[in-house]
């Protein structure tokens, strides 16, 4: 009998400590903005643990870069839905009129052409695109650092997220400022020393190499700087959670 009551005592103690720890952890996570926008619901605990842990350990971390010899000979262009008339018009005009709108919490909203973007310092990286399905390839990506575009447009220090939109209908994503200001997050217009091909997101793709491929949205037309994601879509942060996929894809 004494054995069982000791066991019960220890178990209850652990359970109480666990509940108290969870409550304290949730409080801390909320205070430091470590709860992801899709952190409600049944998957909230796992997503919050992952996002909070990674934000603590990846503060200054860089995605792995590879030697030129490791660039994949056969990069895989994922399946694309038909891109629509507007895109086809841009394509036949050589993307001369492609515009990237920058709005939201910025001092100077802007509408940037590809030529404008190429005036920013060109940043290149040889990184791996990693799909949530399991496949991957390595390529060189060339583009303008998002941080410098945000700085030029005067993004507010109160900003917490950057929302970005594809020309594809209902396709939008967002990242927090840790990723938005990260030196490897670039608005890519080049791939492997050429223009970024349409199959890989050309003319403009946001590369976020510390997260899975689906965060690197293709055909970017608009950036919105914001301090809250509540008013965007269903308030879950991006189109991914609305389709059942996690908002934070650094796993």
């Amino acid at each position: 009998m004494s054995k069982i009551s000791r066991r019960a005592f220890v178990t209850t103690g652990f359970a109480a400590a666990g509940v108290a720890g969870l409550a304290a952890g949730a409080g801390l996570a909320k205070r430091y903005g470590l709860i992801p926008p899709d952190g409600g619901g049944i998957w909230g605990p796992g997503e919050t643990l992952t996002y909070a842990t990674q934000r603590l350990i990846t503060t200054h971390s860089m995605a792995r870069e590879f030697p030129r010899s490791m660039i994949s000979e056969k990069p895989f262009a994922n399946e694309l839905a038909p891109l629509g008339n507007e895109f086809e018009r841009h394509k036949s005009a050589g993307f001369a009129d492609w515009r990237l709108a920058v709005d939201g919490m910025v001092a100077q909203p802007a509408s940037l052409s590809l030529v404008d973007l190429k005036k920013f310092r060109a940043s290149s990286q040889i990184t791996e695109v990693v799909c949530e399905e399991g496949w991957s390839y390595v390529a060189e990506w060339i583009g303008a650092p998002l941080s410098e575009v945000l700085k030029t447009c005067g993004a507010s220090p109160q900003a917490r997220y950057v929302v970005y939109y594809s020309i594809q209908p209902d396709w939008w994503e967002s990242i927090d400022m840790a990723d938005a200001l990260h030196p490897q997050t670039i608005l890519a217009y080049g791939m492997n020393d050429g223009d970024l091909p349409v199959g890989f997101g050309g003319p403009l793709r946001l590369r976020v190499p510390r997260q899975l491929g689906y965060k690197s949205v293709k055909f970017i037309t608009r950036l919105t700087v914001t301090d809250s994601l509540k008013s965007f879509g269903k308030g879950l942060g991006s189109a991914s959670p609305e389709a059942g996929y996690a908002w934070y894809a650094g796993i």
Partner: protein, 215 residues
């Protein structure tokens, strides 16, 4: 179970395995699992595509992984603290020789019922198997899983580089999972053979009924 089922669902979206850093539908595989896929881009030879179950599978996989890591850590700390590993899992001094291992194997092969002494203690084969599961397979499955996380890779690149690249880590994650499933199958079979009810009672309450208490 949550990890196994959700893991298999994720595999279904790309049932091809590679070795090295990269691999995709346009490159050579190490091996393929001959099943249809939930993605039309994967050349499986089947004329149809399965429904996509990856979203919830991934949410579940990572949440369950946290549960395993946290309870696993608690178990290992408790085991070291109380000496459970030293006294119950590390084979006894007298058993640390091949003849002891062979003895246990022979008694299994002759389908001998375990003696009374085994009611309260694990034999040398069980001890070795449990140690391998706790200190080799579980750490490996967690390591190879973490090596698949692009965020974690950026913080600790060695975790994936030491395994020979991202696709090697994915393939190893799959193999270690199979090893754990095989252990589970054998473990459950042995429990069933040695008296399911008394063993389950032992596992849950921590005490084993004595001969007199048996019906």
């Amino acid at each position: 179970m949550a990890l196994l089922i959700s893991g298999l669902e994720i595999v279904v979206s790309h049932p091809r395995f590679y070795w090295g850093e990269t691999g995709n539908s346009g490159t050579a595989t190490l091996f393929k699992i001959p099943i249809p896929s939930s993605r039309s881009t994967v050349p499986t030879g089947y004329g149809y595509v399965l429904p996509d179950q990856n979203g919830w599978s991934r949410y579940l996989h990572f949440q369950a992984a946290w549960a395993v890591v946290l309870t696993g850590l608690a178990y290992v700390v408790w085991g070291l603290w109380t000496g459970h590993f030293r006294s119950n899992l590390v084979p006894a001094q007298a058993d640390r020789k091949w003849s002891a291992v062979v003895d246990v194997m022979m008694s299994h092969l002759r389908f001998k019922r375990p003696g009374a002494d085994e009611e309260f203690s694990y034999n040398v084969l069980q001890r070795t198997a449990y140690l391998v599961v706790v200190f080799v397979l579980f750490p490996l499955v967690i390591w190879t899983g973490l090596a698949l996380s692009p965020g974690f890779n950026s913080a600790l690149p060695a975790t994936v580089n030491l395994l020979g690249g991202r696709q090697s880590a994915r393939t190893l994650h799959f193999f270690v999972t199979i090893a754990l499933v095989l252990f589970l199958l054998v473990h459950v079979a042995m429990v069933a053979l040695s008296g399911f009810r008394s063993r389950m009672r032992g596992m849950i309450t921590g005490s084993v009924p004595t001969q007199e208490e048996r019906p």
